[in-house]
Amino acid sequence: MAPPPDHRRPIKRAAISDQQRRREVALRLQADRRSDAQNRARQLASSVLSLGPEPATEPEVEPEQEMSEASGQLAGRSDFDPVRAARLRGPEVRKWFARQLMLPEWMVDVPPSLDRDWYVFPRPSGKRCFVVSSNGTTISRLRNGSILHRFPSNLPNGARAKDVSGPASSYSILDCIFHEPDETYYVIDMVCWRGYSLYDCTAEFRFFWLNSKLSETGASDPPSQYHRYRFNVVQIYECNLAGLQASYSGQVPYVKDGLLFFNKHAHYQAGNTPLALVWKDNVCSQYVLDTDSKGQIPSQQQVVLELQNDGNLTTSDDPPVALGSLSRDLIAQSGLRVGNLVRVAIKDERMRLVDGKLDLGELQLVGKTNHSRAFADTYSKVLFQHAARHAPLRIEDLVASIQSNSSMDNSQALDVEMEG
């Protein structure tokens, strides 16, 4: 039988081989990633540029103490999209920035290989913010996007002094906690440096970069006319016994508020992530249990949830998790509307785990939340708060996990020897 003409593909034969497809996919991915890499630099720059003209008069600092907790709260995660951000103005800018921070989940159980894959450090108590330096000025923005300070600094292009190292447009973005008592920004992560994006770098690399670059600039110098606030790096430890011990009970120049754990391999990811975790107990934090709107610790656990149109109350996770519901009558009585954030109290006897999921049953309405509150609690926060009241995850548990890991390594080594 003669073969078909060159250009005529028999209909029963596949149009392209999977190998050809693999090749095409690889080439397409490479092209996409190239343009991503190039665009990221451009678009981050333009988003920062366009923030310039925004008026500085916005000292509407969120009064709630929630701020200091930096708990993961986001109504739906948006992808990092500086293109859109570049077109935003005024309040939208705030909203956009509010979504750019990486928000740690609460540690409800100990991740495996804590000692090998994680860093730990004591978290400074204070206001979590993004600090952007560009075009001769430095701006810090709180998690809700509002401006905390606008000031000159020794960060690259952070003041109108002549910076010899590059054009004024190159920007740097730091993830910081502003610690009121000593008026210092404690830098907990580096997102961009001199226009160089670190979003796609591992924590390991970002921390290395942070430590080596920040010291070059004089940003840690004491305040002066052209350097209004001091920037300090936080001592970061390998999460072995010594590192955990040092973070937990070591002396630090700031008020501690729990411990932060970062997975070494994780990229900087906007929104909630299980690859950064927060944990606290009464030794390393003054604020273990949540307070109510009056600043008191209520007798029953209270959580803030968002009301959905089916009456369900959900967390701010993506996707949202429904933890319980309000009856139609109650909703009508209280004048609540879909999307409202409500504070509810949990009756302990109602709370149970169904198929590994938390179910709070019918909830007792406490009231609407303070209007400046933007997001509901996350699932991990509810779980952590519940555990903190009943069976907290203790420092001993963390220590034990690290010890068991290292002893497991030993036993494997033994096995090998015995076989030999």
Binding site: P5, I11, Q19, A26, R33, R34, A37, S165, C201
Partner: protein, 871 residues
């Protein structure tokens, strides 16, 4: 000074290897010592009727190979070499060649005809040998039959060899006249008539002017149609080949002849011998190709129009065409499914039916359904197979809304046939048809998929069961699974395949281990299906995919360890290694893209890398390419951690960059350098000297396939973006190359679409290089080093903008470069940019563009330029 070469030429064909090698060596020596004398001797040998035909033929062949080669750079070298020979030698060789025409030995004439065409291919574009065509045609009416035949054959080869533009219309007219007269029914020699018909096939491209002249066109068409009625089957076949060529070259001129052509083709399809019938079907397939292209252009959102109007020939012929094609489906051959290269009337008919369905859409359905209903349950397998084949063939084209109700009814029947039909052909076609159903009527793009949560399980059960059937049926079942899985690629966590992942993997791995897995492409199909299932995995199924990694690694390990293989075993081993590397690549890409599985996956990275490095020991191009692709994927997933593999990997990277012959490997490797840049960033610095050296070498070589050059430029950008100001030391080499390539590509006049596309790829690569370099230097104290190049970059963009042939990708890249220039160099280039014509007009134009990406790029560029100009 002709040499005596007869004996050497005969020895070179000896069955004794030693004699043969010795003779080949001697020929090589003579050629190196004195090329002119060598070529002269060969042409004399070919022309000499007293020499044995074997030595004459070989002489002609060597002569031909001394004039032409496949690789473009060698072809050019040989042409230059010929042109530089002294005139007397060339004249004498050409005279000998023309003399050969009078030889009574037809092989000698035919060989000479081919060599003459090669010489013409070199000389005519240089305005040399202008008398060739005249001398060929001067006495065409007086010469003996065999000379006439050789002359026509030569004309055909010359037309095949040279570009229509280098032959003036007067000569074209003479050629066509001679050819068409030779084809005429009044020509008594069928050798002459056949040579003329074949010559016309090649000469059609020269007949643009003649086809616009009604009288001349009518005449040519009449002669061609008459030739399809010749008593000689070869002439009939050649005449139909002409019709096929006319259908694509002169589609818009065909309307007056379509009725006649339909009658001729329809008779040939039904009654003539297979080679003729196949060409008659091909005519209709070719018309479909044309109309599909035109209708695509009509639907295109940008133009909405086509240069050539659609005459809807297929639509008009439909009521008669479809029954004719359906009849062919019943002419299957036994065992056609076992032979991958098989091509016969039934297959050509089904292929054409599929094209007709794509051309007319819904209208074909009512014309095919009665045939299906009539035959699908026939006791004779031919009926059942033909009915199924017809159904499978029309699934691409008609709207899902039209097909879905029929498919819903047919699906159960098909599943039953696949499990229970006694005939393998029927099962083969049934499995293929199921695959087509999944391909076209299932998936995110289809509004109402015919696959539901409920029938999916049943389908899977049948498909997996069929994978144990004979190889060709199992292969089609794997293909069907491929498309079933593809439909779920964008489904996320709700995919109904989720519960079956384990079973699917188990069965596919079983198939790859079947003893007969190398038959009917079965193993390849099984791995392709496996890859597709991996591609549609999600958070939930990722752990199952993860379990696959050690399995695939073990298999790859075994192939790497295998030793002392026969060459046949070695081939199979290479195929398998390629498949396994491909599979790993897909798994790496997938696991790297699922956030939750990435870290678990990385524990295998060391072992995978170790294996892939061992795979490079293979000499096989496909295997290298697959391993390289897998490593690129691994680098992207591993990020900076990939640095630890670089010391070992680097030598293979360099090897890939040096592979000119298998240029796909070179291209893939260049792409992997890009992956590495993005993964390692400045950690790639220690390797950059070596990489840049090789890339620069590649660019300056004329041996490297041109398609690799645009990616190399883009790769400069990747490197610069990764190592920033450290790129400074390469500027002095890279910038001149970029500038001269920019110069060429900016002024390139593109004769055809292919050339235009290449030019735009080149431009895009150059622009990406500029962007990467500019961005890499941003914030660096060494920015100044780029200022001297700014004017040229702007000029490049201005020229392209003036030429109006930029495609969207180039436009977007150009906007990016404008912005990057302003952003990186700021006030240093403000005045330059203000003067540039394109910066203002191009940006303004693109601000209102449809494509949002282009609009965004324009906005970015404008923002950056405003700052540079004002600051």
């Amino acid at each position: 000074m002709a040499l005596e070469v007869t004996q050497i030429l005969l020895n070179a064909q000896s069955i004794d290897a030693a004699t043969r090698n010795h003779a080949e060596e001697s020929l090589k020596q003579i050629q190196e010592q004195n090329l002119s004398a060598f070529l002269l001797s060969l042409s004399a040998e070919l022309a000499n009727n007293n020499k044995p035909i074997e030595s004459r033929k070989l002489a002609g062949l060597i002569l031909k190979n001394a004039l032409d080669a496949k690789e473009l750079h060698r072809k050019n070298d040989l042409a230059q070499r010929w042109l530089s020979l002294d005139l007397a030698t060339k004249t004498q060789i050409k005279t000998s060649l023309l003399q050969t025409f009078s030889s009574p030995v037809s092989d000698a004439r035919s060989t000479a005809a081919q060599v003459i065409a090669k010489v013409a291919g070199i000389e005519l574009p240089h305005n040399q040998w202008p008398e060739l065509i005249g001398s060929l045609l001067s006495n065409i009416h007086q010469v003996e039959t065999h000379v006439k035949q050789a002359t026509l054959e030569t004309l055909g080869y010359v037309c095949e060899e040279v570009d229509p533009q280098v032959v003036d219309q007067e000569q074209v007219n003479r050629i066509l006249t001679a050819v068409v007269q030779g084809m005429n029914a009044t020509e008594t020699s069928s050798d002459v008539r056949l040579a003329a018909t074949r010559a016309l096939y090649n000469a059609l491209g020269f007949a643009q002017a003649n086809f616009t002249n009604d009288m001349e066109r009518d005449y040519i068409m009449r002669v061609v149609c008459e030739a399809t009625q010749s008593s000689d089957v070869k002439i009939r076949q050649a005449a139909f080949e002409c019709l096929v060529a006319i259908s694509s070259t002169y589609y818009e001129k065909l309307a007056p002849y379509m009725q006649d052509i339909f009658n001729i083709t329809s008779k040939a399809v039904r009654e003539d011998e297979e080679p003729v019938a196949l060409q008659a079907i091909e005519f209709w397939s070719s018309i479909c190709d044309e109309e599909i292209d035109i209708l695509d252009d009509y639907r295109s959102e940008y133009t909405g129009d086509s240069d050539v109007p659609c005459f809807y020939f297929i639509k008009q012929a439909l009521p008669a065409l479809v029954p004719m094609l359906l009849e062919t489906l019943l002419k299957q051959e036994e065992d056609q499914d076992q032979d991958e290269g098989a091509w016969n009337i039934a297959m050509a008919g089904g292929t054409c039916l599929g094209l007709v369905a794509r051309t007319v859409g819904d209208e074909i359905v009512p014309l095919v359904m009665p045939f299906i209903e009539e035959n699908i349950s026939k006791p004779d397998w031919r009926g059942r197979e033909a009915a199924t084949y017809a159904f499978g063939s029309i699934l691409d084209g008609p709207s899902p809304g039209k097909l879905a109700p029929i498919v819903n009814v047919a699906l159960n029947f098909m599943l039953a046939a696949l499990s229970r039909d006694p005939n393998n052909h029927v099962k083969d076609t049934t499995a293929w048809t199921l695959g087509r159903i999944f391909e076209f009527l299932h998936g995110a793009a289809v509004e109402t998929s015919v696959i539901t949560q409920e029938n999916c399980q049943q389908i899977l059960t049948v498909l997996l069961q069929s994978m144990k059937d004979v190889p060709n049926v199992a292969e089609k079942a794997c293909g069907a699974l491929y498309f079933l899985a593809q439909g779920y690629e964008d489904e996320g966590s709700v995919s109904p395949l989720t519960p079956f992942f384990q079973d699917i993997f188990q069965m596919l791995l079983f198939v790859t281990h079947r003893e007969d897995a190398t038959e009917s492409n079965l193993r390849t199909s099984a791995y392709e299906a496996l890859n597709e299932v991996v591609r549609c995995s999600n958070d939930e199924t990722a752990p199952i995919v993860m379990q696959l990694i050690p399995v695939i690694m073990l298999e790859l390990h075994q192939t790497v360890e295998a030793q002392k293989l026969t060459s046949d075993e070695r081939d199979k081993q290479n195929d398998l290694q390629g498949l396994l590397c491909g599979c790993l690549q897909v798994i790496i890409q997938k696991m790297g893209s699922i956030e939750g599985s990435k870290y678990a996956f990385m524990q295998y990275a060391d072992q995978i890398m170790d294996l892939l490095l061992k795979v490079f020991a293979s000499r096989n191009a496909t295997v290298h390419e697959e391993a390289m692709l897998a490593i690129g994927a691994l680098a992207y997933t591993a990020g900076p951690n990939f640095a630890k593999y670089m010391p070992q990997f680097y030598q293979y990277l360099e090897m890939g960059l040096q592979n000119f012959e298998e240029y796909q490997i070179c291209a893939i490797t260049v792409g992997v350098v890009g992956d590495l840049c993005r993964a390692l960033e400045d950690k790639i610095l220690p390797y950059c000297d070596g990489i840049m050296t090789q890339l620069l070498k590649n660019l300056s070589s004329n041996q490297l396939h041109r398609s690799v050059k645009p990616p190399i430029f883009s790769c400069f950008g990747d490197i610069a973006l990764a190592i920033g100001e450290n790129f400074e030391k390469y500027l002095v080499y890279a910038m001149p190359m970029l500038q001269s390539a920019a110069e060429l590509s900016a002024h390139a006049v593109s004769q055809d679409d292919e050339m235009l596309e290449y030019t735009n790829q080149l431009r895009n690569g150059i622009l990406e290089a500029y962007s990467g370099i500019l961005q890499g230097f941003k914030s660096s104290p060494k920015t100044q080093a780029l200022v001297p190049y700014a004017a040229h970059v702007l000029q490049f963009i201005d020229t392209m903008y003036g030429g109006r042939e930029m495609d969207d990708a180039v436009m977007k890249s150009a906007l990016g470069v404008l912005g990057d220039l302003a952003d990186t160099l700021g006030s240093h280039v403000g005045p330059l940019i203000s003067q540039s014509s394109s910066s203002k007009d191009l940006i303004e134009e693109c601000m209102v563009y449809d494509d949002p990406l282009i609009r965004e790029s324009a906005e970015w560029a404008k923002l950056a330029i405003n700052r540079a100009v004002s600051g």
